[in-house]
């Protein structure tokens, strides 16, 4: 059987090519972001990336979503390093209007593309992609700029928009603990986009606080079944939260 445990973040992201489509897990908080995989991807340098993620980054620099307002790493470092061509997301700009993030600066300058997706539609498109579904109809976005160019249909007396499933080449996600088979458990609010994106990429890479032997996780408690996971990296002690 293929070995899933990788020894370093660099090794885990080494084969990501220029032009890849990548899902980045998390809602946007310090504990649900794959911070070490993001750093490794920045150092690896792949360019012209399409990112599928909730927020395009910048909250980490402001410490929004971390205890005590402590800054943390998020996808903004990939924009600063000019690795991003396009973002598909629900929160592209800074949460503090007076402190714009790298993505919105590049968007205003016409250097990156943006596809706005309402948060619930975004996660459902990812779920659909991972579940082998082509598309679905949702009432979210009807009567707004989101409906532009989309097929509309009345279902159960309500107008709905056709939204397509999303898949990616890679998903970089975060969990609390993995066993060597890739089964994952989470803590608190860590599941967010992580547990959904795990299902929707050709290669899903997870960073975890610890890795245990198969058999050590309670099968009743597993949230993400191991078949969704391809690569696992444990965060070294000195870099744990």
């Amino acid at each position: 059987m293929k070995k899933k445990v990788f020894v370093s973040f660099a090794e885990a992201v080494a084969d990501i090519p220029d032009g890849a489509t990548i899902m980045f897990g998390g809602f946007g908080h310090a504990v649900d972001k794959p911070q070490n995989l993001i750093l490794a991807l920045r150092d690896q340098g792949a360019k012209n990336l399409t990112m599928i993620l909730n927020g395009a980054g910048g909250a980490g620099r402001l410490g929004i979503g971390a205890l005590g307002g402590k800054p943390f790493t998020d996808e903004e470092i990939l924009q600063e390093n000019r690795q991003v061509k396009k973002a598909i997301c629900s929160v592209p700009s800074s949460l503090v209007m007076s402190k714009p993030n790298a993505f919105e600066k590049q968007y205003r300058a016409g250097e990156v593309e943006l596809e706005y997706v309402p948060q619930g539609t975004l996660v459902e498109r990812i779920r659909a992609g991972g579940a082998g579904l082509g598309a679905f109809f949702t009432p979210t976005g009807v009567g707004t700029l989101i409906e532009k160019g989309k097929e509309k249909r009345v279902i159960d007396g309500r107008e709905m928009l056709l939204e397509y499933g999303l898949r990616a080449d890679y998903a970089l996600i975060r969990a609390y603990c993995a066993d060597t088979m890739g089964n994952l458990i989470y803590r608190g609010i860590m599941r967010s986009f992580n547990a959904v994106m795990a299902t929707a990429a050709k290669v899903t890479i997870v960073e975890v606080d610890k890795i245990v032997r198969a058999g050590e996780l309670d099968p009743e408690a597993v949230v993400t079944p191991g078949i969704f996971i391809d690569r696992i990296v444990e965060i070294p002690g000195e870099r744990k939260q």
């Binding site: 929004i64 929160v91 205003r108 948060q119 619930g120 459902e124 707004t144 609010i189 599941r191 986009f193």
Partner: protein, 221 residues
């Protein structure tokens, strides 16, 4: 200058709308403050879109804060008996699937028909939709908690929203620093006024013609 209700008092008035057993999602800003004012004797279950139901208030000391217990507003929450966690697809299934009884949101503009604009304005050139479109179109009831006019004095309750919409015909109640207004099929009904404010003064800060409720009264706190 007449006195306006402060942010906490707006939130307190909003919380009076909560019914026992309701599942409630609070947006950032004034709406979030409503968690402090759940009426005595009522229990509501708070939902945060990043995957938690049934959480409690902000811990009183930093030692009690847990890095895995952070709400969608970025603030730490405490555990309550019966709290549970789930992923984002389940979280928005709850929202679109009408399992959330009420969401309280802020607004940049609200129209006479109950249209809501709260995610951006044209001059910004970009904006954050986040979960607002799903919440506004998916929850059982949408209450708006906001200041009646913008900091620059622009009217926010309008015949038609000029900013990009979050959802159309979704708002049922507007609670501001000077009035409580219900969105009805035939127009906006002024139900309550802040102490010292007359109907004429509120109408002057509201573009659509207000229908004055026969039971008009001062806001009860």
């Amino acid at each position: 200058m007449k006195e306006r209700l402060d942010r906490e008092t707006i939130a307190l008035r909003v919380a009076k709308e909560f019914e026992d057993g309701w599942v409630v999602n609070l947006g950032a800003g004034i709406p979030g403050l409503a968690s402090n004012f759940v009426p005595e004797g009522k229990t509501v279950i708070f939902h945060a879109e990043n995957g938690v139901l049934g959480f409690g208030g902000v811990p009183s000391t930093p030692e009690e804060e847990n890095p895995y217990y952070l709400g969608a507003n970025g603030l730490p929450f405490s555990a309550l008996p019966g709290m549970c966690f789930f992923h984002h697809a389940d979280s928005f299934a709850m929202i679109r699937g009408k399992h959330i009884d009420v969401t309280v949101l802020g607004a940049l503009q609200v129209s006479e028909q109950g249209d809501l604009a709260n995610w951006t304005f044209p001059e910004r050139g970009i904006g954050n939709i986040g979960g607002a479109m799903d919440l506004a179109s998916g929850c059982g009831k949408v209450i708006i908690a906001m200041e009646h006019v913008s900091p620059k004095g622009q009217l926010k309750i309008l015949k038609k929203c000029s900013y990009p919409l979050t959802a159309s015909r979704c708002v049922s109640l507007i609670v501001t620093d000077i009035a409580v207004i219900e969105v009805m099929p035939d127009g906006l009904v002024l139900k309550e006024t802040a102490p010292g404010w007359t109907v004429e003064e509120i109408q002057a800060l509201t573009e659509p013609k207000l229908i004055v409720s026969p039971n008009l009264r001062e806001i009860e706190l």
